[in-house]
């Protein structure tokens, strides 16, 4: 596999310099510290910004640090598709403004994608459960098919949660947030918010371990200069 990024910067004689100026560069995009090529891409995308309200207009996160390997040799391509000279996108990494992409402008830059940490907790199914008992979390309700705690844990693990991934060990299910951040769901090492057990006996879904997350500090955020429609073309190459 190979990715090549080539650029030419040119200026005619007596524009920037007395003689014509041409600067050409070509890079083969490789993994950090290696000669092997980057292997993954987000694909080319076009994102429309039609936003309401007043300035500053609503931003969009174009790439989350979760999307790429932290401290990898990731590269980001952005282009403002507008043809109206005054329209620009302001590009941020987290809270730091990098620059403005005016109509037709493009950018290509490395991205360290320094990620935060995801919230995580373990729920352990224990005591006496019965078929029909339920555990609800993240908008998903699991209804026990039988009274075996390992089977109920397996049912919980088999669900698809909008904001969490899971893994399982016997009757213990480990939940990990899909996105890094301090979402406030994990409120302590043995407590979370938003879970509900309904049981006919003394079944429990105890939180036996938990850790709060930290937010990412290098998401790429873009803000349009106008509320009317603007389009951004973008692509991420990552390790």
């Amino acid at each position: 596999m190979a990715i090549t990024a080539a650029a030419t910067f040119s200026s005619a004689a007596d524009d920037l310099t007395s003689d014509a100026l041409t600067l050409s560069v070509t890079a083969s995009l490789s993994k950090a510290g290696l000669s092997t090529a980057l292997e993954q891409t987000s694909g080319l995308a076009r994102t429309n910004f039609t936003v309401g309200g007043t300035t500053p207009f609503t931003s969009k996160i174009i790439y989350r640090a979760n999307d790429a390997t932290s401290n990898g040799a990731n590269k980001v391509y952005l282009k403002n598709m507008s043809t109206i000279a005054a329209q620009y996108f302001t590009v941020f990494i987290d809270q730091e403004q990098m620059g403005r992409l005016y109509a037709g402008d493009w950018a290509f830059f490395p991205w360290s994608a320094v990620d935060g940490t995801e919230e995580t907790f373990i729920v352990t199914i224990a005591n006496t459960w019965a078929a029909g008992d339920t555990w609800n979390f993240d908008g998903i309700t699991t209804t026990a098919a039988n009274s075996t705690v390992a089977d109920i844990a397996a049912q919980i693990h088999a669900q698809n949660y909008p904001n969490w991934t899971t893994s399982i060990s016997t009757a213990a299910v480990t939940f990990t947030a899909r996105v890094a951040g301090a979402a406030g769901v994990v409120t302590g090492t043995t407590a979370i918010t938003g879970d509900t057990v309904t049981t006919a006996d003394d079944g429990t879904a105890a939180i036996t371990s938990g850790a709060a997350g930290t937010r990412s500090e290098s998401d790429i955020i873009v803000v349009p200069s106008v509320a009317t429609t603007m389009d951004l073309e973008h692509m991420l190459f990552k390790q």
Partner: protein, 139 residues
Amino acid sequence: MATTTAAMTLTSDLVSAPMSISTTTTCMKAGTEADGLDQMDTGYLELASGTQKNLLDATTLGVGKANKVYICNESTDETYFIEIMINAMVVGKLYAGDWMFLPWSAIDTDADIEVTAHTGTNKITYTLFHEGRTLLAVD
């Protein structure tokens, strides 16, 4: 009007059909379509590993302009890299042979573009295309 053209081609065989993206822009002053960026600073330096340098100073450029920055790591050892920062926020790492082209707001006096060299002495070329500086008075 000064006309500076920035053209780029990205080619890749990562997906099932080979991909090629070409784009060209004429670097204009902020918000105009008749007045191009007409000034530039350019340089080359060799930066020893562990050394940090303010490559470009934001102080005199003015806020909200359409400045563009080109930086290339001309090193050839694949393990060499420079870390690019704006106001101490890490943007990314340019490994040997990598280049970048970035708009730069120079939003305040702290928004310098800083580079730190790693692994060995990195060779760096850079060019700033801009709208002009506020020149400082002689003391």
